[in-house]
Symmetry: C2
Subunit: 107 residues, 2 copies
């Protein structure tokens, strides 16, 4: 698996995306992150490890709390890759718009 693939694989799980959404609000401990999920702490830790391997989550150095934080750099790599395909969905919207604005079209 390449780096982009590792990122996309990590993001494919809805729980892991929910964890990122939580970290977008700010740093959090594993216990804080686990709170809203009906999931054991080890299960959440496993998801966090996948996110860490993908470089999407970093852990603080402080031995006691070790807060988790979002690192968006791999997300930028996904956005850059997607940009190569952007014309495919903007073009289809342009065509739809042309169709809707075509003279003679009514109602």
């Amino acid at each position: 698996m390449d780096a982009l693939g590792t990122t996309l694989g990590a993001l494919s799980d809805p729980t892991r995306r929910a964890i990122l959404a939580r970290l977008a609000v700010g740093e959090a401990s594993v216990t804080d992150i686990a709170a809203p999920f009906a999931m054991s702490l080890p299960a959440v830790s496993k998801h966090l490890k996948v996110l860490q391997r993908a470089g999407l989550v970093t852990r603080g150095r402080s031995a006691q709390w070790r807060p988790c934080a979002l690192d968006a750099a791999p997300l930028k790599a996904v956005a850059d890759w997607l940009d190569g395909y952007r014309r495919f969905w903007t073009e289809s919207f342009d065509r739809l718009e042309e169709h809707l604005q075509a003279p003679g079209r009514e109602g």
Copy 2:
């Protein structure tokens, strides 16, 4: 797995992303798609089925050729999801730029 997760999972494989890159050039038969890969036709077909399940590839109705085509709609859904995180990487670039332009900084 939710729809976004199915898309991200399908995209996590580098061969499947290479297939999409080929289809971005235009429609192609399974044989055409398979040509550049050191991979059996059934292996390529399996990747195509994953892409079809994710709605990223459609197949023509013609019984004989059934060309594969790119459908970018699921990619737009990924881009829309990523947009919620865009500020995280633009902010870090803004901070870098501020740092580089800070008065007193030299060469």
